[in-house]
Structure formats: C-alpha cells, structure tokens
Symmetry: C2
Subunit: 252 residues, 2 copies
C-alpha cells in the first residue's frame, strides 16, 4: 500500500523521536526532506533518499505527493514537529492546488517533539503558563505583521518562543524584535537562547532582555522570551539557574 | 543514585511516548501523578505508585521532591508535555520555596508530545503559522486576563489552542470565550474540538466559530481556533476535510 506520512523527527536525539515515527521511517520506500534532516534518519537498505535545499518546500511537497501517487510509501521529514513552521503546511498547500486524484491518497501527519518544548525542558518550565510561537522569518509574511504579533504577545503577558530568529539572508530581524520588546517589557525579563537542543553541539545561554544580543543566535537557535512573572531558582556551584513560569498570574 | 524526573507521557498512545520517557519510567522507584496518568504508566515490579487528585499539584510536587531527597528515583508524570499547563512548573515552584538542600537534587524535565501537536496532526496542519496556547482555567489567574489574552491573540492573527476549556467547576468560560472571539473573527473561521487524541475514545469535531458550542468540549478536549486565513481541503466520501494554515500571510 502506498502512503505519504509527514513526520516530525523531534529535536535530534533518538530518545526523543516517537516510536511511531521510527516505525514509519523503517517502512518507507522514500525519505524526502531538507538535507540535514534526511541525514538524521537511520538508513534502511533499498530506501531512496531525496535530500533537497531548504527553500524548496512547496516543490518538495509536490514531489512527495507525486511519488506517493505512483505507489511509493513516502516519508516527508522535518525537524521537531512537522506542523510547526515545517513541512506539513506545505504538503496540504500542494494537495489543495494539485491534481484532484491526490486527495484520495492515504496521508497522515505524525507529530514530533517540537524544539520549543525540548528547549523549555532543559531550562526548567519557562512555558508553564500561556505562551505563543512566532516565526521571525519575513520570507512568507510582511515584517509589520511580525511586529504586530510580537507587540500583542508581549503586551498580553504571553511567554514568546521565536523560531527562525536569524540567518544570513535575515540578519537584522532579531535585533529589531529585541528593541521592540524592550519598549514593552522590563529589562530584567529572562531571555534564553537554545541552540541545537539534544544534539552534540547543544548550547544554552540564559540572559536578560536588556542584555540579549542577536549574535547569541544562529539558524538552529530557538529564542525564548519570558515575562515579568518568570522566576529563576539558583542551583549549586556554576550551574545555570532553573527558569520557570509560575502557574498563577496576578495581573489582569 | 536518586533523582527526580518530570515526565511528559504524550497524549496517550504508546507509539507517541518518547523512548527516553519510557526508559526513565522503567528505572524509577516511585511514580507520582494524577490518577489517570499514573494508570497509563506500564507497571514494573517493586515500583511504588502514588496516584493523587487533580487539584493537589503543589502538594504532589513537594512529596516528589521529599521522596527524591530521601534517596528515591522519582518520576512525576503528566499527560502531553510536562511543561505545558502541567507538573513541571509546580515542581520548580515547590523547589524555590522548599528546603535549600533540595536544590542540589538531580532534577530533569523530559519533554513529551503535547496534546496541541497531536491534535493538530490529526486535523492536518492548523498551526502552520504563528500560534499560541491559552489555558481557559481561571483557578490560577483572573478571568479578565484570560479575556485580554484571547483578544490580543485573535486580533493579531494567531491560531489559538485552548487548554482546560471546560469542567464541572468552570462551566461558562468556553461560551464566554467563543462570544468574545466572534466579535473579533469572521464566523466562518474553523474551530476544532479534539478530545482524547490517540486514545480509544478519540473524537474530532470540525466546525466554525459561528456554530461552535461549548457542549462539544469536555475536560479532555483541546479546542483549536483557526484564523481568517485557515484553509480546508476536501477529501473523499464522508471524510473530514484537512485543515491547514498556509505558510504565507498577506495581512499586516
């Protein structure tokens, strides 16, 4: 039987990939995705691997649907969760605008552990109350909309997780976001830079909004902005304090 | 070696629980959590199981820390992700206000698949762009703050995931939330009720904001509110259409 599964690989560590994802990856005839993510999938004999460039999401989605329509068992892989700024939306967009026959395909999305939650777990419980996720990329939406969402989220007391904070093609957006947030939130609000969580090159930096600089982030970094209610709990010698959001909020 | 691990069990299915969580559950001497979640943990001989009532989060966290301090290997379990409206924040709150010696304990949070992403995957890719999560419970925060956050999120075009939408003690909040959202968003905006995702009693209802009624939700339901940009892709005979958020946004 042919199928298409859009699979979230989790942040990187095998221990954080779901068993259902691992099983589907083993049963697939074709693995499709951005090169570094395809490289993370365990190799199986006879399986075809299609590693493509980062920017070609829609083209990759069409390719995957066409392969499934021809009889393949296709795994489209994303890092983290496939539904969070990743391939799932591109697949449904390609499905909506593709040949009607594609709609009869056996399609499923297998959720994965998002970078946001993997990073939060390392830090403590920074998302412990209402939170939001915003992509800082203005490739697919106008920058004023990003600013509007940042202001709305910070103004209403959400913890904010910033995806796609910076890249060579988008060097100034994160600095602009910090400047905007400093006009709304106290300078002491905790900011965390979580890079390549659960992978060998994992790096965590905990600082404040007043002192946060864009240079602490790269393409693999998730940036978490706390709130005025965020708490730090000191630990022993040299250890990073725990960061958490209290369950109760007083402000209205 | 004694330790305390705060573990997200995922939404329910074993195939959606991470291998690292499964391993920690097998190594623990004590499992602590809300009764129905403890019941979901595979039994291991000699392990002590402490199933408690829903409301006693802080007391349960203190109990867990005290057991770990006495030498136990303690697994505090939550459904979904432990950091999302669950036990991780309570553990750090208890740690902050407990005996200083607790701070030297070996503590870790093991992230899990959140209900939000498991529900989204079943529906398609409804969270495909910026989104937020709001708990509708006003046990720990004032209701006007909930309303402020709903208005800010909907007004800025976030997809909204509502946790804790309704309970016997909180019967009116979800209806009030729908009324507030109808004043901001078009009536045709998709609304999904996702109940007990990945468990035998799973139930999914897809409707619109104009037609959504609180009776479609219970304590186990996650309610997803789309945006004016959400898209539906029809499928074959009798199948629920796919719901997704396009990757690009035009509005500013």
């Amino acid at each position: 039987m042919n199928w298409l599964k859009v699979i979230g690989l989790g942040p990187g560590a095998e221990g954080q990939r779901t068993p259902e994802a691992t099983q589907a990856l083993a049963e697939a005839t074709d693995i499709i995705g951005y090169g570094p993510y395809v490289a993370r999938v365990p190799e199986h004999p006879g399986q075809r691997r299609h590693a493509t460039d980062n920017r070609q999401e829609l083209e990759r989605a069409r390719h995957a649907l066409a392969l499934a329509a021809e009889g393949a068992r296709v795994a489209v892989v994303s890092s983290g969760d496939a539904g969070v700024f990743a391939m799932a939306s591109a697949v449904f967009e390609a499905l909506e605008h593709g040949p009607p026959a594609w709609r009869a395909l056996d399609i499923a999305v297998l959720p994965g552990l998002s970078a946001m939650f993997a990073a939060a777990a390392r830090l403590g419980a920074p998302l412990g109350h209402d939170f939001c996720a915003i992509s800082l990329s203005d490739n697919l939406k106008p920058w004023p909309l990003v600013e509007q969402r940042l202001a709305a989220a910070a103004g209403a007391g959400f913890v904010v997780a910033l995806y796609n904070p910076i890249s060579k093609a988008r060097p100034w957006q994160l600095g602009r976001a910090f400047a905007l947030l400093r006009a709304i939130l106290p300078g002491g609000v905790p900011v965390a830079f979580a890079t390549a969580i659960s992978r060998p090159e994992e790096r965590l930096v905990l600082t404040t909004l007043a002192e946060a600089v864009p240079e602490q982030a790269d393409m693999r970094t998730l940036v978490l902005i706390g709130t005025a209610e965020s708490r730090l709990v000191p630990r022993g010698e040299g250890a990073r304090p725990w960061l958490y959001a209290p369950r109760s909020a007083r402000r209205a």
